[in-house]
């Protein structure tokens, strides 16, 4: 029997759902291999008997939270797609304590009509089986995950930073131009699309791991005049900087208790 697949969107632009529809050359093949049973961007039918659910968007409202719990309950495999679902994405910018007025800017005097929580990745609320990060997610990586699911093969994200892809593509390094690129800290898999077009990586696919963050702190405090705080501010754009990575504050609090 063909796996029953659904696609859902929480707080996001739904660009990652649309990226699935952009797989034009492979779409018919995919639709031949799976049964699509619930996809707001692509169809009108709605079923809740689901084998694999793909979800984009962050958990950013009480409604999102209900929705993701309901999806989790009704699906076998839950896949987070895109920076919002994997990291919280640009939605996490509203956490900036220096900008408490974000909701007023967006919703004006009706801000209270729209209840909101901290923007979180799906994994902060429910168990997630696989993540396809990126803004938007990488279509080819989605396809690879689908191939793995259908063939019962394990799927793993690359454990290398974006630099490996720049080197394979033969890109000159942006650091040579004096730019600060987040490529060394960021998970590869995007084929270094931003640096390939001369634009610094913004870490939309998240950190490779905690080691990259530790190395980055060491590098920027000893080798560059750019302060680490500025790098962290840029890592926050897509929520790549983990809130748990506040080692100094945490250690001090721990030592005091």
């Amino acid at each position: 029997m063909k796996p029953r697949v659904a696609v859902f969107s929480l707080t996001s632009c739904e660009g990652c759902s649309l990226a699935i529809l952009e797989l034009e050359n492979q779409l018919l093949q995919i639709l031949g291999a799976v049964d699509l049973v619930n996809f707001r961007e692509g169809m009108t039918e709605r079923s809740w008997d689901i084998d694999v659910a793909f979800v984009d968007g962050a958990v950013s409202t009480p409604h999102d939270e209900e929705e993701i719990r309901r999806i989790r309950e009704h699906c076998g495999t839950l896949v987070a797609i895109g920076a919002c679902a994997c990291l919280g994405g640009v939605n996490t910018l509203k956490h900036d304590p220096a900008r408490p007025d974000y909701r007023r800017v967006v919703y004006g005097d009706r801000a209270d009509w729209f209840p909101t929580t901290r923007a979180r990745p799906l994994s902060a609320v429910v168990k997630v089986d696989a993540e396809l990060p990126g803004c938007p997610m990488v279509k080819e990586e989605f396809l690879e995950l689908v191939r793995c699911l259908l063939n019962g093969r394990p799927f793993r994200l690359p454990a290398n930073p974006v630099c490996t892809e720049c080197k394979k593509l033969g890109n000159p390094c942006l650091y040579e131009r004096g730019e600060i690129c987040l490529g060394p800290l960021t998970r590869a898999g995007c084929r270094a699309i931003c640096p390939s077009f001369g634009s610094a990586c913004e870490a939309c696919r998240g950190l490779v791991d905690g080691d990259a963050l530790r190395a980055g702190r060491e590098v920027f405090s000893t080798q560059y005049v750019v302060p680490w705080e500025k790098v962290v501010a840029r890592l926050r754009l897509y929520g790549a900087y983990p809130e748990s990575a506040e080692p100094v504050a945490a250690a001090v609090a721990g030592g005091a208790s």
Binding site: Q26, L150, N151, A159, C163, K167, K168, A215, V219, T222
Partner: protein, 360 residues
């Protein structure tokens, strides 16, 4: 085979002759950088510019290539080898890069040999370009003797005249060969003339100028490098330096002697066909030494950094008799954490000198 002397116009014509039935690849300028890329004519190449950002190893050992495709037929698999060699003239390869290619030849040529690599290698006519001064601050080829090559190319170009003493267009280029293919092209061509006594004098003067032009950067003799590295195995330099290593593998991927790769199978949606793909790997990358079952033999960045330096300074030379590092300085240049191979080696050498002095 004696040397042949050409002026600039003749040199470009000779390169075009070599490339008449081959694809031409050489340094193409993009802004301040040069890259080994395809050109239509030799006149498009930048023979005087900076060395290419990346070494020419891509042309024998591409970053990613399909080795074979497979298809499921009833109860078995049918495989088909994919080969993609194109007859190529690779131009302006620097001596250090020639040494890098010689190492790759050794590694991929040893049994069981890599037929895809060897086919591409055989299909490539290499016209090397000697350096009469160091190309960049990071280079330390002069210390390693890799700033000169006598083997591993078909033709070698040496510009006997100084940039200052002869106007553009009137320069003297000396061409020598190291293979039968190279010798045959030199004997066939009507371009230029045979080298005479005056050219030999100029060549000797060139050698002297060149010897004086490469400053020493290594704190020890090249012959002592393997020992210096080995003695430093237990040094704390690995921990200290790796604290800022991103494990991004840029040093590996930009290195002309790094040859490690990973194999990956891509399977179609229906699982009935697929391809085996080879891609560059590097010992600084996190999962390089990860094996089935989840054990990682070099899980810590310091262990990986030490492994790379040991390979470059000691182990490869011991195993192959060829230099594991050719001193091009690309690893230092691409490292955004500013970790320097030369500095590591020099620190080790100095630590050991100091220890030695302390004991006597």
């Amino acid at each position: 085979m004696s040397a042949r002397i050409l002026n600039r116009g003749e040199l470009l014509r000779l390169i075009d002759e070599a490339a008449c039935d081959r694809r031409l690849i050489g340094p193409m300028r993009r802004g301040e950088h040069a890259f080994y890329e395809a050109a239509n004519r030799a006149a498009e190449l930048d023979l005087e510019g900076p060395p290419c950002v990346y070494s020419p190893k891509n042309h024998f050992f591409p970053p990613e290539e399909t080795l074979l495709t497979f298809e499921r037929k009833s109860r078995s698999f049918v495989t088909r080898t994919v080969r993609h060699e194109t007859s190529t003239a690779l131009v302006a390869v620097r001596p250090c890069e020639v040494h890098g290619i010689r190492l790759l030849d050794h590694v991929f040529g040893a049994a069981p040999s890599d037929e895809g690599y060897l086919a591409r290698r055989r299909a490539t006519f290499i016209i090397a370009l000697d350096c009469f001064r160091p190309c960049r601050d990071e280079a330390f080829c002069g210390d390693l003797g890799t700033n000169t090559a006598h083997l591993g190319f078909d033709l070698m170009i040496r510009r006997l005249s100084d940039a200052e003493d002869e106007p553009r267009g009137a320069e003297r280029f000396e061409l020598t060969s190291a293979t039968e293919d190279g010798a045959s092209l030199l004997s066939r061509t009507r371009l230029g003339r045979a080298a005479d006594r005056d050219d030999l004098d100029a060549a000797r003067a060139y050698d002297h100028r060149k010897a004086a032009a490469f400053p020493r950067r290594l704190a020890c003799e090249a012959d002592d490098l393997p020992d210096v590295a080995q003695r430093g195995y237990a040094s704390d330099i690995w921990e200290r330096t790796a604290a800022r290593c991103y494990s991004c593998g840029s040093c590996n991927l930009a290195c002309p002697t790094c040859y490690c790769f990973n194999l990956r199978d891509e399977v179609s949606l229906d699982g009935k066909s697929g391809a085996r793909v080879r891609e560059w790997d590097g010992c600084q990358l996190r999962e390089f030494a990860l094996v089935a079952g989840g054990h990682n033999f070099r899980a810590a960045p310091a262990e990986r950094l030490r492994h790379r330096v040991m390979r470059k300074a000691s182990w490869i030379a011991q195993r192959t008799g060829l230099p594991g590092c050719v001193g091009c300085g690309r690893c230092d240049r691409v490292c955004t954490a500013k970790i320097s191979l030369v500095e590591i080696l020099n620190t080790l050498a100095r630590e050991q000198d100091h220890d030695h002095a302390g004991h006597t």
